[in-house]
Symmetry: C2
Subunit: 123 residues, 2 copies
């Protein structure tokens, strides 16, 4: 739809890692865009609502976003230094989570799982 949202999506796509809203805003402005911070937040909200970008929280509680190749369920292997991420899958974990939930009487089970480390380039 909007040119602004596309700009945000593209800024995100140009990075292979997770980026914060403030980050993206700074990048866009640095590239000459007159976009406002509010719009960046709105775009990211819309993109994550529609499942086009993944969101996760840093240890400090800041939200970071990533435009992933697939919209299907997956996890990430994230570099602690440069935040670059690789999409990974773990079928066994999915099953394990559901089983654990059932075992303790929990319904509607979901889970969050992220793997962190230092990538080859940053080592």
């Amino acid at each position: 739809m909007s040119t602004r949202r596309d700009a945000v999506r593209q800024a995100l796509t140009e990075s292979s890692g997770f980026r914060s809203a403030q980050d993206l805003y700074a990048d866009l402005r640095a590239d000459g865009s007159k976009i406002g911070l509010t719009t960046v937040y709105r775009a990211l909200q819309a993109l994550s609502d529609s499942g086009q970008v993944d969101v996760l929280r840093t240890d400090e509680g800041e939200a970071v976003y990533r435009a992933c190749d697939t919209e299907s369920h997956h996890h990430h292997l994230v570099c602690r230094v440069c935040s670059t991420a690789v999409e990974i899958e773990g079928p066994a974990v999915e099953k394990w989570a559901v089983e654990m939930g059932a075992k303790h009487g929990f319904t509607g089970v979901t889970h969050t799982l992220e793997v962190f480390g230092t990538c080859a380039r940053c080592s």
Copy 2:
């Protein structure tokens, strides 16, 4: 050491779920304590630094704490409604995470994993 820190630890222990600093502060004050919010944050910081309590972030980015039975590595099955949590282990997942890291050249691999659902009582 301090009575204050013990008060926070106990307030946390009395709950089987994850609680936020603001939450604990409200509880303590409601119980008649004159403790300050700053002190609650300091106590939680110290307790988590020493590994006596586990911390995780809600979707909204708020930090929530829990006094777990074990200090060894484990994960949680958390009720989405009442936040009660059960400590769970997944040996297979631990190995999987490390393997995934190695496969992509990542070193110093760690991971975060939490399972969410609605507990039997809240269903």
